[in-house]
């Protein structure tokens, strides 16, 4: 999506990314980025929390209006009321044997598909 932002912006359409994968967006480098430190899947605010979504979106839009240079970014205050260990549980490598087996199984499936 960062590539899309760069393409749109380079061709005359201002863009704002509202997202949670800060390192990826920073690495690709985009015009305007509002960072929400939430589990992937809810960039605009926690699922079921319309009030917070509205506040985040409004803050992000006002930030976009104020930006005057590329790679402008802001950290939007967010509140995550679900399990607080979500950073650790995403793509966890705590069980290497299970992951290795999963990888093997996927490669076997893909090899069969190709035949």
């Amino acid at each position: 999506m960062s590539l899309v932002a760069r393409h749109l912006e380079a061709n005359g359409i201002p863009t704002l990314i509202v997202g949670s994968a800060r390192d990826i967006v920073d690495e690709i480098a985009v015009p305007r980025f509002a960072f929400t430190d939430l589990p992937l899947g809810n960039p605009v605010g926690p699922s079921g929390d319309a009030g917070q979504q509205r506040r985040i979106l409004t803050t992000a839009l006002r930030f976009a209006e104020s930006a005057v240079v590329p790679q402008s970014s802001v950290v939007i205050p967010v509140e995550w009321n679900g399990a607080q260990d979500w950073r650790a549980t995403y793509m966890s490598i705590a069980d290497p044997a299970a992951l290795a087996a999963e990888g093997e199984a996927r490669r076997a499936r893909q090899a069969t598909k190709k035949k």
Partner: protein, 156 residues
């Protein structure tokens, strides 16, 4: 508290380690830039026509290609199961959490933005950056047709 890791998740590091643990030796090569283009907003936010762009698809069996769909009425739901969001921690049952069409309609009626564009756009997440860049032009054409002043991209 002193710590050895960043507070914010590094998805580049996480995904590299995760796929390495699955036996994929060649890590994904991310696009990388040290500068970015910039196009100033042509008018105040309160006069801007705003469009949303998502990585969700209209349905689970939709073709992998960019698409547009009417902003209003907002779809009941979109297909997100194929994307790499945190399925143990949250859900995508609430469109407002990732494609806030109704919130933008409300912000338009309050005069915070000018209007919501008649269509939103979607672009599948794929491995190939060349394909993504080609699809980005399809999205640009649709947004330009709708005279969009600001595109808000909300990747899952």
């Amino acid at each position: 508290m002193p710590k050895a890791n960043r507070t914010f998740v590094s998805y580049i590091d996480k995904s590299r380690e995760y796929y390495a643990a699955q036996g994929y030796d060649a890590p994904y090569t991310w696009a990388s830039h040290t500068d970015a283009p910039f196009e100033p907003l042509a008018k105040p936010l309160s006069e801007c026509r705003v469009a949303l762009v998502t990585t969700a698809l209209l349905s689970a069996d939709a073709r992998l290609e960019p698409y547009t769909a009417p902003s209003q009425p907002a779809p009941e739901s979109l297909a997100t199961e194929h994307l790499f969001w945190h399925k143990e921690a949250t859900n995508t049952d609430d469109l407002g959490a990732y494609l806030p069409l109704d919130h933008l309609t409300a912000l338009a009626s309050e005069g915070i933005i000018g209007s919501l564009a008649p269509r939103f756009a979607g672009i599948p997440t794929v491995y190939s950056q060349r394909r993504t860049n080609r699809w980005a032009e399809t999205i640009r054409e649709a947004l330009a047709e709708d005279d969009v002043d600001l595109a808000v991209l909300t990747p899952l």
